[in-house]
Amino acid sequence: MCGAPEQTADLPAGTDLSKESVLVGKVTNDGSPIGGAFVRLLDSTGEFTAEVVSSATGDYRFFAAPGSWTVRALSRSGNGQADVAVGGPGLFTTEVPVG
């Protein structure tokens, strides 16, 4: 994998949730999904780790190590963020409201 993977609610084939920690969710504004938002994964010190663009349905996805993370979204509708605690492998679903 080299290029940016398409962001969808479905996980790519081969994702092993018994080994990988996957952060997913939607960027929303008043409950409506926001596509085209710039979604940034920040570590526990607030340092940038990765960035994706949310899909038309507002979905984002990151593969992360266990730890405390912040998912921050920038969009034309405004910015917002949400914290996620990743204790181990599995799927972690978090909505990120912007406005």
């Binding site: 994998m1 290029g3 994702t15 994964l41 940038f48 593969f63 190590a65």
Partner: protein, 280 residues
């Protein structure tokens, strides 16, 4: 080189969309982004299918680059303004690549696609038609490109700057966190490398930090300006971003990009690899 020569603002870009001799070129990590809408009049270069040799792991050769730019309608004396998504990763890579083949007048759009979109500036899906040219490239300028043996020799003597995220540097992750982690190579970093993630050189909107902020950043992290520097990441695109900050914005003299980067180094037999945060 200075910021004024190497970087243009979104305002400047908007005022020069139709300027003669100025060509906007989108180079994106997501190679389909252009098709949905791009800066009006911009042409697209696909970093995967057009800048890479499709068999060997290397760049297209000089003749291949000449053919590509001729077909895109880019002339030797054109001002090429590069931009792209993901904080200009691949646009910075293309900038370094254009410099490698000797294109004189190339600039990066500060903030790239992200700032352009967040500003609500115009995007257009129409693909421009530009008449072909007879582009002539130079031999590769190897003063800005490092190969593996030079990197191994640089351990403990030159500045090695690993610009990946801390988790990739320590060996916890093998790829950035937005990509799947299946990889063949070992995790870790080149011994004696500093870990200065590329993102520290950029603001949240994708623009570069000021020269003063950049100088303070690399000074605090321990970069010795009296020694040559080699930057690397995973495949050489994020390190192009840092190469740009050091060589083009700050005017540091001897700075190379190691495009083989961790996917090559981490697969080599017999070279030293360090894990952990490098600070102990």
């Amino acid at each position: 080189m200075s910021r004024q020569d190497a970087l243009v603002t979104a305002d400047w870009a908007e005022e020069n969309l139709d300027a003669p001799g100025v060509v906007f070129v989108e180079v994106d990590e997501d190679t389909t982004a252009y098709d949905g809408g791009h800066i009006p009049g911009a042409v697209k270069i696909d970093w995967k299918t057009e800048l890479q040799d499709q068999v060997r792991r290397d760049f297209v050769d000089k003749a291949g680059f000449e053919k590509l730019l001729s077909a895109k309608g880019i002339a030797n004396d054109d001002t090429v303004v590069l931009y792209g998504g993901n904080n200009n990763w691949f646009a910075a890579y293309a900038y370094w690549y254009f410099k490698l083949y000797g294109h004189q007048d190339v600039k990066l759009l500060d903030g790239g696609r992200k700032k352009w979109e967040l500003d609500g500036r115009k995007l257009d899906a129409a693909v421009p038609s530009r008449p072909g040219t007879q582009y002539k490239a130079q031999e590769q300028d190897l003063s800005i490109r490092a190969f593996r043996d030079e990197v191994v020799d640089a351990i403990g003597s030159k500045n090695l700057v690993d610009v990946r995220s801390p988790d990739e540097f320590s060996g916890k992750l093998l790829a950035p966190a937005h990509l799947p982690q299946e990889q063949a190579q070992r995790g870790g970093h080149i011994p004696s490398a500093l870990n200065v993630p590329w993102s520290k050189a950029a603001n949240e909107d994708g623009t570069f930090k000021s020269d003063a902020e950049l100088r303070e950043l690399y000074g605090t992290e321990g970069l010795d300006s009296s020694r040559p520097t080699i930057a690397y990441c995973r495949i050489g695109e994020r390190s192009s971003h840092t190469w740009f900050a050091l060589h083009e914005l700050l005017g540091e003299g001897d700075v190379k990009n190691y495009d083989g980067s961790w996917t090559e180094y981490g697969s080599l037999v017999g070279v030293p690899v360090e894990t952990g945060d490098g600070k102990s």
